[in-house]
Structures are given as C-alpha cells and as structure tokens.
C-alpha cells in the first residue's frame, strides 16, 4: 500500500516534471539543454548500483570545476573536478528514476533525469542571461519571455559589488526609468522614483520584501537574491492600491538542494570627500568683509578681528575648515552564509555585519548594522511550508548641529580667522565672537565632536507561508507577513560655546522611542493549467493589512558634569510627549494570465481596496489593468530565423492607486495643546488650527505602456524599448492654502489636488559574448522623462517652493525654477538715475542700488486693474520673475561592463543624468557678498570702481540691492556621468583552492565613484533632495533621518576597497 502510493506519486511527479521540462525547453531555448546532447548509450540493465559519469559545463561547453551534483531527495552527491567531470554511484533502488540536481554559484540550478544513462553532459545556464529568467511578479513568478507588463530586473550580482549601506542606492543606474538620488553619508536614505513624479505626496515605491510590505533601508544587499521593479499597471495592478509609484519586489536568498555550503565575504574600504569649494583665505576674507562694511550706507564699523589697527586683529590664523573637517571614512563589511538542503527541507542562514564611518571629523555620521536571516522551505506531499525571517539592528550616528541647518554649508562658510580648537574655552573648541568677528560662524567640527545624536533601529521582517495543493493544479496559499521596527532616537547637548549664537548653558537631552508595525494576512487560490495550446494561470486572493505607530519622547535638562545622559538625571525642564496612529487596508484581487499557442499573451488584473484613511463614502477603490503580448518569433514567418531569437510586442493599460497620506486626514480635528497662562498657571486651550478635506479620496494613476523585446543571435544581444505615458489624477497632496487662514503651510489640508503626466522612452540593451577564455557583457540603459503638470489644486494656483524660487504651474514641470533675470551690472550712478527717473515710482530697483549692483530685467507690469500686462513697467518687482529652467533631468542613463578572463573578472558601472538645473545654496551663501561669514574666492573678482569688467557684483553688507535674490545667478547645470564602480577580481583555480580546503576563493579591489564628469561646482551633482517641488535645491545636505530630527547629509564619497570571498 505504502509502496504503491509512493510509486504512483513518483510516476506522477516524473510525468509532471517531463511536461514541465518539455514546456520549458519548448518555450525557452535558453533553459539548460538537458541531457539531449548526451551520447546515447545502450540501456544498461539495472544492477546493484548504477555508476553515472558526466561533465558539467557552462553554456559554452567549458567544464565547471567544483559544481555540486546531488541525487534528488538523497544525500548522495559529489563535486566536479577541475575539468568539470564527475562520477557518482547511485544505489539500485533509485537508479531508474534518479534525478540529478546540479548547482553552481552563478548558474541556474538544473535537474536532470538519469533515465538509465551513464554518461551525461549537462550544461548550466548563466544566471546573468536575461531574457530566459524567471521573474518574480506579484503573488507568483513568470518566465520573462511571457511578460506583458513592464518589469525591470536589477542585476543583483553587479549591485552587490557596490559599497553602499542602502539597497536602493545600489539600484541607481541599473534599470531604465528608475531614478535614485541621495547623498553619500553612511545610512543615507535615497529618493527612488519610478517613471517620474507619479505622486506629490509619497513618491516612494511600494517595497515588498519576501511578500512583506516593509521599508527597504537596512536590508543587507548580500541577502538579496533578486530585485524586480514593476513599472507599469499590468505588472503592478495586483498591488493596486499602493502601486501608483511602482512596486519593488525583493526576494532574499533561499536554500538550494545540495550539500551544505558555507560562504564568507569580507570587504574593507576607505572613503573620502574629494571636492572642495574654493573659499577666501584670511587676507582675502578680511579685505572682502571690510569692503562690504565700508560699502554699507551708513558704513558699518570694521570688526576688530579684521582691523589691522586693533589689538584684536587676527593676522596669524588661516584655517581651511574643509580640510580640517573632512577625513577618511572607513568601511567594513562581512557576511557569512550557510545553505543547503534536501528536496523536502532547504535552508539558508546568513549573518552579516556592516560598519561605515563617515568622512567628517567628530562623532558622526556612522552606520553599523548587524543582521541575521533564516529562510527555510519544507515540502511534504501536497504541503509546502516555509518562512523567511530577517532581523537587523542598526546603530546610526548623525552629524550633529544646533538646528536643522546645512552643516556642510557651515563648514564651508566658516571664517578663516578662527582656529578650530582652543584649549582655553569650556569645551576645547574655538568660538566666534559677535563683537570681535561679527560672523555667525558655528564651529561645526566642535558640534560634531561634542553633541550626540544617534538612532538605534531594530527591524524584524518576517514571512511565513503555507501552500496546499488542493486538487490538480489548484493551490491554496496563506502568507503571513509582519514587519516591525523599534527605534530609539537619542540626542544629548552638553554645555558648550561654539560661536556666539551657539551657546548652550544648560545640558539637555531628548530620548524618543517608538515602534511601528505592518502585519498582513494574505490568502490566495491559484490554478495553473496547460490545455492543448491554451496556457492558463488564474489567481484570486484576499488580503488584510494593519499597521500602527506608537511614539513617546522624553526631554530633560540640567545635567551636571560628569554627564550621565539618562532622563532621570535631568534636574529641570522635564517633559514627555506621546503619539499613536493606526491604519488598515482590506483588499480583494484576481488575475488571469493566458497564452495561446505560445504566441498570444494576455494578462488581466483587478484589485479592490478599502482604506481606513478615507471616509466611508470614499473608502473603496478599484484598480484594473489589461495587457497584451505577441511573441512574433514563434510565428511561422519568424521561427527558425537565423538571427532573431526573440521578438515580442506588448502593450498594457491600467489604473493604479495611492493612499499614502497620514491617517485621519478626512476629519477636522481640534488641537488640545493651545494652552494659555493666567494667574501664572496653565489654562488649558483647545481649538481647531488645521482644516480637513472630508471628501479626500484615492489618488489614481492611469498607466499606459508599450514595449518591444528583441533578442538576436541566441539572445547574445538583447534589446528592450518601451514607451510609457502615465497620468496621475486626483493626486493627494497638501496644497498650500493662504496663511490668512492661520494654517502653517506644511499643515495645509490634504486634497486630491493635482494631475500630472509623465511620459518617456526607455531603452535597455545588452551584449554578451565569449571568445576563447574571454567572456564579456556590455549593457546600457537610457530613459527619457517628460513631466507636465495638468492641473493643480484650488483653481490651478501655482505652487511656490523653497523661498519662492521654485514654481509648479499648470502646463509646466514640477518644481520648475523661477526668479529674476539678470541684465548686467550697473556701471555708474547715472545709469541708475536714468532708470529711476523713467520709473513711475521714481525707483527702478531698490533705494540703495549703487554701481556694481546687479541690474535685473524689467519684463512685466500691471495695468490699472492689477492684471499682468507682459510689458515692462519701468520698475523691478515680484512681477518681473520668470521661469528659468527645469529641475527634472530629461535623461537618465546607466552603463555596465563585465569581463572575465580565466580567473580574472572585471566590472565597471556608471550612471548619470542630464537636462536639469541645480540651485546651489552653498555657493549662493558664499557669493552673497553681504555678511561676515566667509566668501567664495572668486569674490576677489567682484565689481569695484577699478574692476568693472566682471559679472560678479560688488560686496555690501545686507545686500540692499538684493543681488542675492532668486535668479539665474545661482543655477547650474546638473548634468553628470559618474563611474560608480570599477572592480577587478581574481578567483583561484579550483585545484589550488581545494589544496587550501576551500571550494572557492576570490579576491578583489574596487574603486567607488572614481570619476565624475560634471560642470556642477557644488560638492556633488547627485545630492539628496525632496524629489518634488524643491528637487533642484542643493542645500548641501538633506534631512535623512528616518523618524525624527534632521541630520546632515554628505556628498557621495570616493572610495577604495579590497575584499575576499571564501567558499568552504
């Protein structure tokens, strides 16, 4: 009874394997050419044991040394020798039906039925070969050749070579249509955008890690098996509600059948900030600042530090703050993984450690991560179970500063007449004096050395699934996902004096703690069946999601030395605050994938979501999509074509949703914290200080995509071209309402306030070739982006950003630059007087405009009714501003080159963007010519009565002409091309490695960001920004702290790295 069941099952299994294999082979010429090439030998009569010999080769026929060969479902196995040969004795009981599982790092694991043959030739397919890949789609997988939607795949092999703490940073330049921006400090959180600005509110795509909705930060790159980016509605609609910004599906590495494998990787690196602003030295600074004081009306006294006649004159200090502040950062990364398993139980366990110190003197920024992950899969009969559990602990220190300010800016504009250190002060750091130096200079090195600002973050991402094959091809699956992050943000500010404006007389600390979780339960039924020429895959599912955040924070002051910064030790100013929020989502979804005759493809998807973020009448949204594909290469007129191995056309159309606004926005709330004081006691105050939009509803994105996939010469050359045209409608955002409501702009109510079109072409091409011992592949991707605002909230009023220098207007682009136009420099008072006399108000620009000031262009005025005329009116005012350029790159590109020669391998990655302007705020500060902080060196070329042939205006305190106003003067081209990685590796021959009792040993050296081609004068054209209305603004830093306060960003460093990878 038992035996027959087993036999029947095994027969059935064999049958299905054969069907699957034949389908796979038929569908996909690149799937390993299993056994078919083997020499037919006479059927050997079953004996006690079967001796099987064979050779494992790569797709070019070269033997693979050290490949693992295991008899499926047993522990019988071996590894290949230096030439890829193996021999294996298979016991009689299993010989007839034995299946060999062949695996080798970097190649697809392959199963081969022995079928009584004793001499096998097995060729393994290279994992990097693209079009044959199995692609992870939402709630399933699909052969890439059958895709109808737009899915970008990240080459994880390349990406994992980049020395970055965040996975998304590694994606930069890898996939057409995906843009990533960020600074380069340890733990930086990049802005990732898929196909332009799809949403004004939350532009981040949805990250699904092993089926769990989760933040992607802190996920170790080394754990990742695959990254798929779902770009269009057809691909993403199964995640309907949350997919408007695209979906990134990340799968972590799982165990494979075979003997236990142990791998250890170690990487060590050194990083530096290489660019510098060219700032004035002591003599230049003193000359400029004194001249600016003299030019003021009335003239301002010269500060003693800059006055050679004063006893306090500084003549012997010339500090280069940038060189003092920047140092070499260190990077250490190590990963240990253990994996293996049998047919019924597979495991992959990893441990990793990542430690990166920043490039600035002081306590931060640093980023240290410890993580472990356990992924297992179990199979028994009709059941499958498994889990993936990852846990990381992150210690992140931030570059510290007194306010939310541009730390880098403060390093750059610090005055050269002040030393960094001063042992006579209370804290050991020098301090600018208002009366002696006048400058606001903050000792940024002192701040970063004295203050503590750090986050501890603990993140659990876990998924458990169970699958049951109910009947025939019908499967039920339940998946439980849970992500939980606990964090603690800590900030301690000791007593210090770091400049006259930066005095802290009372030691204080903040301790913020919080946790958030997202839990999901998903039930799906799937049915996959091939009936004749019909290939059908159906999916139906239901999902429930709940997420919540809970925060408390404590503040205490009056700590005494020696400091023990624990809340209880505060002696005054103690306060506690707390906050709670929760949201839920209930969803139903279905999908049908159908192909006929392996030529005509159809994918239809629908998802219906209910969200707690909207009022009952607006709660539900429905998101359908439809996609069609045509595999021309399987048509008679192309099949067997000598060159064309693939030609597919595809098109999709669908609607995606977005609900990512904070909870409770549809209801107007009161603020219970508006307390007053009477009789010196607190009097509780409550009132409404913000407004709601009760009818706020789902944001929708209409997605349209067409694409062509081409493969030539057995797919040695592959090329994909796509065009998308997306329209986001009813976009959720806080549209600034007039402040006459008393509402601060950032508290403006959420409305479905805009629609925007993004369109673009995406091209991805790759060429792989092998000649002799040399294998190489070259890939490139390029995408264009056109962004157009179709409507804006509240009657299409433009949205002004960052001090009104950006303006988002209907018909224009998001975050376009806006300001005055420069018309030259006034050379004489007569020139100014003539314009003043011609002005209707007796004044062309400002009352104290003088020779050497910038003359702005008069381009607009108003008629008697107050309407703009479009004609000059003889005076410069706010109406004379104009659009100055685009903040959105119109071109993104990425390149990759891989070479392998014998044991050597070489990788180069590059990416870039072009077509955008950047507002350089640090330069604007250095060249304002109007204060006591340091100046740019090129201000030595300022206008003076004797240096009139210049475009640099005069220096004068407080800038009475407003030379520093928003104008084209501060805008620079943001175009760049950067070589992000060059890596050269060497793998020891297997025989040598084996002598060391290793299965593998690879060593490598890398150069990170070795070359950047750009005309941008700031630290880095790839800087962190909000990605929206203020994306053009390079503030020298960008708030990157995930939960609470701001912290300084740093430019992307140049790095040198060495590494070793060992397999046991």
């Amino acid at each position: 009874m038992k035996k027959s069941t087993k036999k029947a099952r095994s027969n059935a299994f064999q049958r299905s394997m054969l069907v699957a294999l034949s389908v796979a082979v038929w569908c996909n010429p690149l799937v390993p050419q299993v056994a078919l090439a083997s020499t037919p030998t006479a059927l050997v009569r079953p004996q006690a044991d079967l001796m099987v010999r064979g050779r494992i080769t790569d797709s070019r026929g070269d033997g693979l040394p050290g490949a693992t060969v295991v008899v499926k479902g047993t522990s019988i196995g071996t590894t290949t020798d230096a030439d890829g040969n193996f021999s294996l004795r298979i016991p009689d009981a299993t010989a007839a039906s034995a299946i060999l599982v062949v695996s080798y790092t970097g190649y697809e694991t392959t199963e081969v039925a022995v079928n009584g043959k004793t001499d096998l030739s097995i060729s393994l397919a290279d994992k990097t070969e693209q079009l044959g890949d199995i692609v992870v789609i939402g709630y399933g997988t699909q052969s890439k050749k059958d895709l109808t939607g737009s899915i970008g795949q990240v080459n994880v092999g390349e990406v994992s070579k980049l020395p970055v703490s965040d996975l998304t940073k590694a994606i930069q330049g890898q996939v057409a249509g995906v843009s990533v921006h960020s600074g380069g400090e340890p733990g930086a959180v990049p802005q990732i955008k898929i196909r332009g600005i799809g949403s004004f509110n939350n532009n981040n795509p949805l990250f699904i890690i092993d089926g769990v909705q989760s933040p992607v930060n802190d996920v170790p790159t080394s754990d990742v098996e695959s990254i798929q980016i779902l770009k269009d509605a057809s691909a993403a609609a199964i995640y309907g509600s949350r997919a408007a910004n695209g979906v990134v599906i990340i799968t972590t590495k799982r165990g494979k059948e075979g003997k236990m494998r142990v791998d250890y990787d170690l990487q060590r690196g050194w990083q530096n900030i290489v660019n510098r602003y060219d700032v004035a030295n002591r003599e230049q600074y003193q000359l400029l600042v004194n001249e600016a004081s003299a030019n003021a009306e009335p003239a301002l006294p010269v500060k003693p530090a800059n006055d050679p006649t004063s006893p306090l004159f500084v003549g012997n200090i010339d500090t280069d703050w940038q060189n003092e502040a920047f140092k070499t950062g260190q990077l250490l990364s190590q990963n240990l993984s253990v994996s293996g398993g049998t047919e019924s139980a597979k495991y992959n366990i990893t441990m990793n450690h990542y430690d990166q110190t920043g490039t600035v003197v002081g306590k931060g920024p640093n980023y240290t991560r410890y993580g472990f992950r356990v992924n297992s899969d179990f199979k028994q009969g009709r059941f499958k179970f498994g889990e993936s559990i990852g846990y990381t602990k992150v210690d992140q220190r931030f570059m510290t500063f007194v306010h939310t300010g541009t730390n880098l800016g403060y390093i750059v504009n610090a005055i050269p007449t002040l030393p960094v250190y001063d042992e006579n002060t209370i804290d050991g750091f020098s301090s600018a004096s208002q009366t002696i130096h006048g400058s606001y200079t903050a000792n940024a090195i002192g701040f970063n050395s004295l203050k503590d600002s750090k986050t501890d973050r603990y993140r659990f991402i876990g998924n458990a699934y169970g699958e049951y094959n109910i009947w025939d091809a019908l499967k039920y699956r339940i998946s439980l996902g849970y992500e939980r992050t606990d964090w603690r943000d800590f900030n301690f500010d000791p007593i210090h004096d770091l400049g006259w404006f930066y005095v802290n007389n009372i030691a204080k600390m903040n301790d913020w703690r919080g946790s958030g979780y997202t839990g999901t339960v998903e039930n799906t039924l799937s049915w996959d069946k091939i009936v004749g020429k019909h290939n059908i895959a159906l999916l139906a599912g239901q999902s429930v999601l709940q997420s919540a955040i809970s925060r408390i924070s404590g503040h205490a002051e009056g700590f005494t030395e020696p400091y023990f910064p624990v809340l209880s030790n505060g002696t005054s100013g103690i306060s506690v605050t707390g906050y709670e929020e929760q949201n839920r989502l209930l969803s139903y979804f279905g999908r049908a994938i159908y192909s006929y005759n392996n030529r005509y493809l159809l994918t239809a998807t629908i998802r219906r979501d209910g969200s707690s973020r909207f009022s009952p009448q607006n709660r539900w949204g429905t998101f359908p999509s439809l996609a069609l594909g045509w595999k021309l290469h399987n048509e008679d007129f192309l099949s067997g074509h000598p060159h064309i191995s693939q030609l597919k056309l595809r098109a999709s159309y669908g609607v995606l949703g977005n609900q990512e606004i904070p909870p409770y926005q549809y209801e107007a709330l009161v603020n219970p914290y508006a307390h007053a004081v009477f009789s010196n006691q607190l009097a509780v105050g409550t009132t409404q200080v913000e407004f709601a939009t009760p009818d706020v509803k789902w944001e929708e994105k209409l997605s349209r995509n067409i694409g062509i996939d081409l493969g030539l010469w057995d797919d040695r050359f592959t090329f994909t071209a796509e065009y998308y045209n997306n329209e986001s409608r009813d976009m959720l955002l806080r549209v600034r309402i007039p402040e006459s409501t008393g509402v601060y702009p950032w508290k403006s109510p959420y409305v479905n306030g805009a629609s925007v079109r993004n369109s673009g072409f995406e091209f991805t091409g790759a060429y792989n070739q092998r000649s002799g011992d040399l294998t190489y592949s070259i890939g490139a991707n390029l995408s264009t982006l056109k962004n157009e605002v179709l409507s804006l909230g509240y009657g299409d009023n433009p949205i002004a950003g960052y001090g009104a220098i950006t303006r988002t207007e209907v018909g224009g682009e998001v975050g376009a630059l806006y300001g005055w136009v420069i018309d030259g420099i006034f050379q004489s008072q007569e020139e100014i007087d003539a314009l003043n006399n011609a002005s209707p108000i007796g004044r062309y620009q400002e009352v104290l405009t003088r020779p050497g000031d910038i003359r702005f262009k008069d381009i607009n005025g108003r008629d008697a009714e107050g309407n703009l005329t479009g004609a000059p009116d003889g005076k410069i005012d706010d109406d004379d501003r104009d659009f100055l350029g685009s903040a959105v790159p119109d071109l993104y590109f990425g390149f990759n080159v891989n070479l392998a020669y014998k044991g050597f391998d070489f990788t180069a990655l590059a990416n870039g963007a072009s077509g955008n302007l950047v507002f350089n705020t640090i330069r604007a500060g250095l060249e304002s010519g109007a204060g006591w902080d340091n100046y740019a060196a090129n201000m030595m070329n300022r206008w003076t009565p004797s240096n009139t042939n210049t475009d640099v205006p005069r220096v004068v305190m407080f800038d009475p002409n407003k030379n520093g106003r928003a104008s084209s003067r501060w805008l620079e081209k943001g175009d760049y091309l950067r070589l992000t990685l060059v890596q050269l590796g060497y793998t020891l021959p297997t025989s040598t490695a084996e002598r060391l009792h290793l299965s593998r040993l690879r060593v490598y050296v890398s150069a990170q960001n070795a070359l950047t081609f750009t005309k941008y004068s700031g630290f880095d054209p790839d800087f962190g920004n909000d990605g929206l209305f203020d994306r053009a603004i390079d503030q020298g830093n960008y708030p990157n702290r995930p939960f609470t306060a701001f912290a300084g960003g740093l430019p992307n460093p140049r790095g040198f790295l060495v590494g070793v990878q060992v397999g046991f």
């Binding site: 339960v521 004081v677 006691q681 409550t686 600034r736 007039p738 006459s740 508290k747 009104a804 006591w932």
Partner: protein
C-alpha cells in the same frame, strides 16, 4: 476526515480575516474631532484660552512682533548680522522673508481661533450667563487686537470674520482699510460691553473692559478720530481702576506683573512647564509659555544684541534731570549705560565693557537684575505690557491737544513726568501752541515707551514720514531711515501669500 479538517482550517482563516463591516473605521486616538467640540462650557473656555495662545508665537510676541514694532522706530536700531532683523528696521526686507510671513500667519491664526469662538459660543448652553458674556467678550477683544496689529503692519488685509466653511473661503480679497478699522472698532466695542472690569485668581491676565476701552481709543486715535478716542480714554481714566506705578521699572519685571498700571499684558511664565519654544507650527504639548524677546534684545555677550537704542534716544534722556538732579529713572530702567555702580546680569558694566565704555544696550524687559547670568536659555517669563495707563494718559493728552484743549493736555503729560520724578512744568506746557504741544507730547512719549513698540506707529500717525523736514530729522536720529521708501511704513504682503492667493495685491512701495 483529514480533508475536512483542512477545509475547516481554510474557512477559519478566510473567515477570520474577512472582516467585520467596521474594520476600516478608525478614529484618531490622540485628539477629538472638531465636530464633537464646542458643545460644553468647558469647550468654550478652552476654545477662548486657545486664542490667547496665538500671542505666544514667533510671529506674535514670542519675538517677531516686538522686533517689527520696535526696530522701525528712530529710537531703536538693529545691529543684528541676521538680515531679516537688520533689514526690518531699515525698510529693506525682501518680500519673501519670514518676518512678514510669520507676522501674517501668527496674527491670522488668532483671528481664525477668535472667529470659531464667536461663531460657536452662542450655540452653547451656559449655566452661567456671565461666563458666556465674558468668553464672548474675550474673543471679540482678541479678534480686535489681532486685526489691530495686522492693520498697522500690513494695512491692506483680508477681513475674515466667519469660520471657514469650505475651501472657497480660503481665498479672500483684501478689504478697504476703513472697512477693517470699522470691524476693529466694532469688536472692541462689543468686548467693552461684555467684559468685566477686573478678575480674581485664577483668571488674572484675561482681557478686561479697560483693555477693550483703551484699545478702542487707540484705534480711533490711529485714524485721527480724536473726539471718539478721547471719550474712550476718558472712560479708562474715570474708571478708577488704573494708576501709575510709583516705580517705573515695575512695568518691565517679572515681579509686579498685572499691576495697577497695566491695561493688558501677555502672560508669559517660566513656571508653567513646557520645554520647546513655540516658534511656528500647530501647538504641541511640550511648548513653553515664554518669550525670546529678552535674549533677542539683550546686549552681547548676554543675549543676541539684535536690538540697540540709538545714541540719539540716549541723548534725549539726558536732556532733563530729575528734581533730585539725577538721570531720568526711565533711562536706567530702559538702557544699560555706564554710570557709577551700573551692573547687568550680576556683573559690573565697567568691567564687561571696559574697552567700550560708551556702550549702550537694551535693559527694558530683560532679566539683567534677576540673578540669572545671561539670557541664553532663550526663555523669559516677563509679561509683555501691550498697554499701560501712562499710554492712555499721553494718548488722551494728544487727543485733547488735537481737539484744541492744549492746556488740559499739559496736566496729563505732567502726571507721567511726575512719576519719572521730572520737574513740574505743567504751566509751561499749558501755554504751548498746538504745534509746540505736539512736539512736547512726541518727546514725552519717546522717553516713556522706548522698546514698547509704540514709536513707529506714533511717527506714522503724526505724519512725519510724509513731512520732508521731519523725515530728515528721523534720518539724523537713525540712519536706518535712509533707506525708507514711501509705502514701506507698511510691510509687504508676504510674497508666498500673494503666490498662493491670487486675489491679493502687493502693497505700494514693493
């Protein structure tokens, strides 16, 4: 059997996760909805208290309102390296600076809160009708007060007197200034009608009938309606509720707050908790109830030195000695300067400023005598006196003079002088011409109110900015007037506000 149990399991899992109807119904666990508010007496009290809280913002009296009021006078200049402050006093602000923007949003925040109270309180059932009247009176007073400052800062402003019903209401046009002032008069009148004359603990510091009357008079005076103004000031004087403090300095310390001379003051306190300075934003539970005016104005190295008296005003104080032959006691209460025994923040003036003995710095409203070493913890608990009885007396004198009763005016001037221990010159002043009396009042007001936010409004009201002779004098007192441009007696409408609300027009002069 096995199959059934598996099916049961699926059904349980599916059934358990396909949820109840109210699964998606989540309400905010932190605060209540505005629809459930304004139902009880307690709601009304809390709603009115919240209007006062708008006076604690950076755009109101945490800092910027004082800077905006004081720095433009010829008695005050700003040596601040921060152009937002130094350009305020020299009429050179960019249209997009936070000075105008924060004034605008914070004062309008008070208007919105007052509108909510005025619209909702009449619908609440009160057991205590006197409480309802008082609360409504406070709301009217505070709305009038917020509009008073908005009108003097910006002149051409939207006049919103109802709660916002829909997003269409967010975009008002500017009202004619006369219309705005008519509303201010009406609000103060209503407050005057409804408010009590005095309070007892724990309500000391709330708006009184006297406060409403004083501000009504001041509003009339601002618009040169002297007869109406005089009538109101007379009411205050006749009420008998106010008198001048014997010690002038008592008006600027933490010790004698809400004293007999005070008509209305903003109640700051270091004792009521809160650790975060409420700069700008929706209020939060950890916000302090203190003002940063002291650190802003205090001389270096005790504060930021963002304000300083002009040397001209210092000289003005020295023109007349007290009957005892000493310096005007108001000088010592107002300005740090070098006199024998002068101290500040526990240190000898002559030691701190040994290399700069001519130094003059701001003392008024500071904590230099409090025992604290400096102002650098940002927090001052000194109440901001928005209107003192001496102001009422001098404004009344001004009305009398303008109405032709110059002799009577002299009496009130001397009352203020007498408290400052200056000689009795009532008879001499009584015989002055109307013009002469104007100059005398100007001088007396100058010395009485340095750093109290009145000087620029006085200059403006007296028409000096349109008088070339007077304007030249102002420039000689304070070179910051060199960059004055006609029209800039009002601030620019914040640039971002104009960008956001297309119904607004920029003020002339910008």
């Amino acid at each position: 059997m096995k199959k059934i149990s598996i099916l049961t399991f699926f059904l349980v899992v599916l059934g358990g996760t396909s949820c109840k109807k109210d699964f998606l119904e989540l309400s905010n666990p932190n605060v209540q909805t505005s629809g459930s508010f304004w139902k009880t007496e307690a709601d009304a009290q809390a709603g009115v208290n919240a209007i006062y809280q708008s006076l604690y913002y950076d755009g109101t009296f945490l800092r910027f309102a004082q800077c905006a009021l004081d720095f433009r006078g010829d008695d005050v200049m700003s040596p601040s390296p921060w152009d937002v402050l130094s350009n305020t006093g020299s009429f050179k602000l960019f249209n997009n600076t936070i000075m105008q923007e924060w004034l605008w949003v914070a004062f309008y925040g008070g208007v919105t809160r007052a509108n909510l109270a005025i619209a909702n309180i009449p619908n609440i059932e009160f057991k205590d009708a006197a409480l309802r009247d008082r609360l409504l009176g406070e709301a009217y007073f505070l709305r009038g007060l917020h509009y008073y400052y908005l009108a003097t800062f910006f002149n051409n402003i939207p006049l919103v007197v109802e709660p916002y019903q829909s997003s269409d209401d967010y975009f008002p046009s500017q009202a004619a200034p006369e219309e705005t002032w008519a509303q201010i008069y009406a609000d103060f009148k209503e407050a005057q009608r409804l408010l009590p004359a005095t309070y007892t603990d724990p309500n000391i510091g709330r708006a009184t009938k006297g406060a409403a009357t004083g501000f009504l008079g001041k509003s009339y005076l601002t618009n040169h309606q002297y007869a109406e103004a005089a009538a109101e000031f007379k009411k205050v004087i006749d009420s008998g509720n106010y008198s001048l403090m014997e010690n002038y300095a008592d008006n600027f310390s933490e010790q004698s707050e809400n004293n007999a001379e005070s008509l209305f003051e903003i109640q700051f306190s270091r004792e009521v908790g809160g650790t975060t300075l409420g700069w700008v934003d929706a209020p939060y539970s950890d916000w302090a109830k203190t003002t940063a005016r002291a650190i802003t104005y205090a001389p270096a190295p005790f504060g930021w030195n963002d304000a300083a008296p002009t040397s001209w005003v210092y000289q003005q104080f020295l023109q007349e000695k007290t009957v005892g032959g000493e310096d005007d006691p108001r000088l010592k209460a107002t300005i740090y300067y070098n006199y024998p025994g002068a101290t500040l923040y526990g240190q000898e003036f002559a030691t701190v400023y040994a290399t700069d003995l001519g130094k003059i710095g701001v003392k008024k409203y500071g904590n230099g005598d409090s025992g604290r070493p400096d102002e650098k913890d940002w927090r001052s608990g000194v109440n901001e006196r928005l209107m003192r009885y001496s102001d009422v007396l001098l404004m009344y004198a001004e009305c009398l003079n303008e109405l032709g009763n110059t002799a009577e005016a002299a009496k009130y001037i001397q009352m203020v002088r007498t408290r400052a221990k200056l000689p009795n010159r009532e008879a001499e002043f009584a015989s002055l011409s109307k013009e002469g009396m104007r100059d005398r009042i100007a001088h007396e007001r100058l010395l009485e109110f340095v750093f109290e936010g009145h000087r620029f409004d006085d200059i403006h009201r007296w028409g000096w900015l349109n008088d070339p002779v007077k304007l030249a004098e102002l420039k000689s007192h304070d070179p910051e007037f060199n960059s004055y441009v006609p029209g800039r007696e009002y601030f620019s409408i914040p640039q971002l506000e104009i960008e956001t609300n297309p119904n607004l027009r920029q003020n002339p002069g910008y």
